[in-house]
Symmetry: C2
Subunit: 404 residues, 2 copies
């Protein structure tokens, strides 16, 4: 499993592009992206569980029902959600894309991200799509990753190379996500492409399994977005033997997928709105995996824990508090808590009570950019990880007046 | 139902006091409070549902099992939670109080609030209790309310006068609560006293019913505290006929209790850590009360809604989003949303989609200190209210380094 360049265009047969079409006022900010597979690809997706759903999600469920897709069109700057004509606009986006690319409308995946509840004008998109079609290239992942960013401060892109039955396969992904992020089936927008050959059924199985320990263990602000979606396209151009069941190759494929998703998860958490730190909560010793996940998510979601991490304050009582109200059944009197970062590791709580520790060392550890919160429940063998970020002045600033 | 002065000493037979005993470094900040009824009183309490519980909670459950209490001792500055010797310290607080007042140890309610996981030294408390006993007076509510404050910026105190069978009764309360506040049975510390005569059974019934629509509908930051407690003492000195069943007097008593609790709820929400605005979400037209409550709580808890309110930004899409992920089963296509404040009222969403509105008027409405978010689900007759506050820079500041 080797990390490589190329993002969503690393796999054979995929091209991409991103342009500024005019949804956003700032001409320097790309707002429309396109990804194309040269041949129809097996496709699987997971969607937000929010009852309020972006219009594109409704369309995509229809388009992806047959497990096949060939292109993804995505705009930023407007979520096309809670608009009376939303579905019609999403359909037009698919039709215009299909027309420009000479493919079937049903093979187009549509995504939108941005403000909720403002009508989305099709005019700039209609101008942008033919332009995108012309710009499509093997070097286009960077531009496509930029075109889907909203409050993101960094572009999120990754790719890996792996082998299936002697054939070199590649998988890459881009993501956008910074606010309105909270684990629930799928969060944020993630587009993953691979040239591995895999059946739509097995692709779906791989994705559903994977998000349970990656994107669903990620929280920036506790708000589950209306437009979240993770889509994987697998076009089979690597020429490996088609993965059709739970064989060894499927395990390798799952590992590649997990490398890509875990990497994007960490990028999203680290670039959470206003974030200065990436937090990872590692829970072990749980009686079962659900307990471990519930505890890890509760810690990473607590506003008080997040604010303490911003202040590099080893206020571990808030971690115990968040475990206590998580809803998980745990033995409070057995909990150990430590903090870890490149600057070292320090134990702060043992068997549910505080232990003396060096505030100076704790501060040093918590001043780092990536912090692990280690929780041992000492009641079993299950473990889980969750990712989040600190709560900062800038989160408030960004969200205090997002629309202007 | 008339609002009166006197807080927790408004009812006959109650005295109170507050002092600085030395738990906190700042000598200007009171940190120990005492409330006494001249005779044993019927008593009822609700406690936090957090599995991590402050040591005082464990003791109080024992002391209040018989439905009788006579005094409340409460310190701020240290939660006496997650300490190996916590229960022993809480027991000592009860014993020292009983000794100083010449009452039974089992009739003392103990409460602590402040940092979790730091050993609580009994020495300053042992010095403070005899001093409090000497200072007890009918004018002591103010001092007692100050002594329980942590990050609170305003003292929370209220009292009402009402009639039961021709007898004048009084009920008053004090509260502390600013952070780590999220609805779950009981949140924050609230001490309520009344001279009405009511059986412990009916007092418990009244309290349990009331918190469902008051303190459990309040959220500052989504973190359910380890030390929350609401206690009511009813000493019967008003000489009304003892309330022993669901009679008319019970309804009057419930109304008095609700006036006191609702008033304290609004004070706590409005003084949420860093808050500049009190938010009230009013949901109507729900198919049942659970749905209405779930929706109201989800809106009031959303970090994105709270940050938008701080910025006076009419970003109603975030309200739809929070309703959508609340877990309540609602028909998204029927939802109406309006904002209301002393500056006016404005509709922003109808049948789940945006309607044109004056951004100028919306801004004016949202710049006020108290804002109502009105949600109509148009699917039934049930309604609910929840209280919260905006998310501000100061919340981050207060919680970024709370312990120093």
């Amino acid at each position: 499993m080797k990390k490589i360049d190329g993002g969503v265009c690393a796999a054979q047969g995929f091209t991409a592009a991103g342009v500024h079409c005019g949804i956003r006022r700032n001409p320097g900010k790309k707002d429309l992206s396109l990804i194309l597979s040269s041949v129809p690809a097996a496709a699987a997706a997971v969607y937000t569980t929010n009852l309020v759903k972006g219009a594109p999600i409704l369309l995509d469920k229809k388009h992806l029902a047959n497990g096949v897709a060939q292109a993804v069109i995505c705009n930023s700057g407007n979520a096309n959600t809670c608009n009376a004509n939303g579905l019609q606009i999403a359909e037009q986006m698919a039709e215009l894309t299909a027309e420009a690319l000479g493919i079937s409308t049903e093979d187009v995946v549509v995504a939108s991200t941005g403000v909720i509840g403002q009508p989305l004008d099709i005019a700039p998109i209609a101008r942008g799509i033919p332009e995108l079609a012309k710009l499509l290239s093997r070097d286009g992942s960077d531009a496509a990753a930029q075109g889907i960013m909203t409050t993101d401060t960094v572009k999120k892109e990754v790719a890996v190379e792996f082998e299936l039955g002697g054939k070199i396969c590649r998988m890459g992904g881009i993501a956008k996500g910074s606010g309105m992020i909270h684990p629930n089936m799928a969060t944020m927008l993630v587009f993953i492409t691979t040239d591995a050959a895999i059946s739509p059924q097995m692709l779906r199985k791989a994705l559903y399994f994977d998000v349970g320990s990656t994107f669903n263990m990620l929280s920036v602000d506790g708000d589950t977005s209306t437009n979240d979606m993770v889509v994987v396209l697998a076009n089979g151009l690597a020429d490996n033997r088609l993965i059709e069941d739970d064989e060894e190759d499927f395990a390798v494929f799952m590992k590649a997928l997990n490398t890509v998703t875990m990497s994007l998860c960490r990028m999203i958490a680290g670039d959470g709105e206003g974030a200065t730190k990436l937090l990872e909560c590692v829970v072990d010793g749980a009686r079962d995996e659900d307990t471990a996940k519930t505890v890890a998510k509760s810690v990473i979601t607590s506003s008080l824990v997040k604010a303490a991490m911003f202040g590099a304050d080893a206020n571990w009582g808030r971690i115990l508090c968040a475990i206590g109200y998580s809803g998980a059944s745990v033995d409070v009197g057995r909990i150990d808590v430590s903090f870890r970062s490149p600057a070292g590791e320090i134990a702060v709580c043992r068997d549910g009570s505080g232990v003396p520790f060096s505030e100076e060392l704790a501060k040093k550890i918590l001043l780092e950019r990536e912090i692990d919160i280690l929780v041992s429940l000492k009641s079993g063998n299950a473990c889980a990880r969750a990712w989040g970020c600190d709560l900062t002045y800038d989160y408030v600033k960004i969200n205090g007046d997002y629309r202007t």
